[in-house]
Amino acid sequence: MTVVFWILAAVTVAGGLAAVMLKNTVHCALALTTAFAGLALLFMQLDAQFVGFAQILVYIGAVAILVVFAILLTRESEQPEKGVFSRTWLAGLAIAAAVFAVLAWAVLNSRAALPDAVGLPKPAPEVTVAQIGDALMGRYVLPLEILALLLTAAMIGAVLVAMHEKGGRK
């Protein structure tokens, strides 16, 4: 476990925590981008450059912007008078804790945690973008096409959903 990893992990987790805990919604969004960045760096730490860049491009470049746009469009940036947490926040917290407990327990009891397991650090696989391209156009061409379809559908759907009703109903 390198120091870098711990730093990045700390950054990511801190960003995540901030993202869900801060009062001001826009701050949450910005913290979210921090978490994204941390994750991207973690990906690169895992020798997955391409995924890391994709992460930055998509999440920081697009999703984060979308989120802040949504925030400004829904005028939610100023926090509501009655707390930012929902009425049943305690139950939610408990459940989330339970989930983490189960997951952590599973991880720590699985073979992944044992030193002799697959987790041994091995030489980084040399992955060039060309290989990824070949894979995308070869083995994974069908998922790729389906994905393209999905994205188109999602775009149209999002536009339709967010579009103002014509003729101004209500």
């Binding site: 139950a91 189960v102 599973a106």
Partner: protein, 681 residues
Amino acid sequence: MRWLWLIPALPIVASGIIALLKQPRRRLSAGLAIAALSFSLLLSLAAFAHVIDTRALLLHFGFNPAVRETVDFTWLTFGTSTVQLGWVLDPLAAVMLMMVTFVGLLIFIYSVGYMAHDENYTRFFCFLSLFAGAMLGVVISNSLLLLFMCWEIVGLTSYLLIGFWYQKPSAAAAAKKAFITTRFGDVFFLLGIVWLFAQTGTLLFYNQGAGSLEPLAIGMLLQTPAKLGLSAAGAIGLLIFAGAVGKSGQLPLHVWLPDAMEGPTPVSALIHAATMVAAGVYLVARVYPLMTAGVLPGGTTTSLTVITWVGASTAVFAALIAVAQNDIKRILAYSTVSQLGYMMAGLGLGGVAVGMFHLITHAFFKALLFLGAGSVIHGSHEEQDVRNMGGIRKYMPVTFVVYAVGMLALCGVPIFFSGFWSKDAILESAHKWHAGQGPFYLLVFGALLTAFYMTRQVSYVFFGDNRGHDHPHESPRVMTAPLAILAFFAIALGVVGTPAWPWFRSFLTDTHANFGGLDSFKEPGLLTLMLLSSMVVLFGIGLGWMLYGNKSPRAEEPDALEKAIPPVWRALRDRLYVDELYGATIIAFYYWWARVADWLDRRVWGGIVAAIMWLFGLWAQLNRFIDMNFVDGAFDKGCEELSGGGGLMARVQSGRVQNYLRLLALGVVILAAILIWSSHG
């Protein structure tokens, strides 16, 4: 014949397209429907020709000229058993195809004129061609299941078309009646199908010896006994026959057919005279092997006996009723019922050929009559009561001529008209029947009645002087042209079925047609029989003419027959009280139920009232007052309790996404925990 499926497919596709058209696209929709059906007609011609020349080929090489080509495919597979669908081309199907497509096409063309003023034109043609497609499907299907599907679609379209003018309550009621009544028969039909599948494991009719109508399966069915001393074959046959009874309006399920005349006249002609009601007959003909299963030469089977008696009695019953009707279309409707009875009897007595021959000829002249009636109604401004017509001969010559042809064909006037030959064949086979002469006499009586009431109707409508309010007018060319064609066939079709040259019979029974010439009339009893039937017919016509000819009774004054024998007349006029009978049973039930409710009221609530009186000893006014409150209060309380319970239930469904998410997460945790523990334990 791989392309056989096109014949039903084309009209169905056409109807699909028409369904998408806008209402104003009248010409296009009509054009589509007619074009599709005429293509189907061409294809049917091709199929017919194909059958004929393969027969010729087989004959030439001296084989048994049985032509039967099937195309089957697996529809769905469950476990080890598969359900196969497919279509068959054999003489029976070929003839039926010809008839349906041809008559259908003529009627389509006719309705272009007839429905010209209706704003739901496109809808009409959509339904119409959907019906045509389904009917053709029934005809060609080689699987009882496929046949049943198309059969149901046919029923549906019939429902839609009867209720086409749904704004008329009577039409809506008639549609419902038709649908429900036929459904009643179809239940038994379905039972029969299921049973057959359970027994033979296949629903295909013909499948290289493995079909359910082929000797192997039939033999097997004969072995397995059913209740009432029937073999499984017989029982299944009877069940399927029940479906046929529903569809072709046999006794006791005939009630819907006369009411179905609420639909537009082309519909009555196409569906309730020519094709759909014939579907029942066709069905019986199709599964004939089941009916004749285990018949000894010259003998008969239970199913055949049942069919015969049902058919014969229907024939007379309906004819009797028809005598005393005044609605022009109703008369024709009842005559249709009785003719269908003839067909059934023919099937039961003399086999497929006899019944089918009458079916074909009847299809033509009955369609002719209906369309003629339609043209009369159309011309005399939607007047349907024969007593308010009369003397239309002068105004609508063409219609008169063709109608007369149709009427004579229906009555079975000797030699020149197809009706004569087909009915004569039935009578002959009835005469030859070994299991008693009852049907024969019934049928002869029926023939007499037929002649009588047709004469009555014609003389009412066309002779005498006009009692209508304003002058009728001849119908447009597009309506009369089909009439003329139909009239021609009503005469000509007899040729293929004369005893002299029984081509039709041999065509259907896979034997060689030999031109017997006049000697074939020398067959013992045949000539006398023909003579007898002609006598009967002429007597009937004469009687009718004597009573109604050239008189022009006013609408209000009693009918000629009514003067003679009032009670009988009244009974007939009220359709022998069948509807009343059915109604009565149901109403009785309602009465009984009402009485139960009444009892509850008296005993329970009344008891409470009494108790309160006794407790408080107040006088009656106050008493009733309290009672009301008390009762109402009780009711309200109960309602509150109920709604409270509902609310309790509904609380789970709090529309909060986070609740759902929470439950989800909880479930995940539990599942994961279980998984881990199980893997560890």
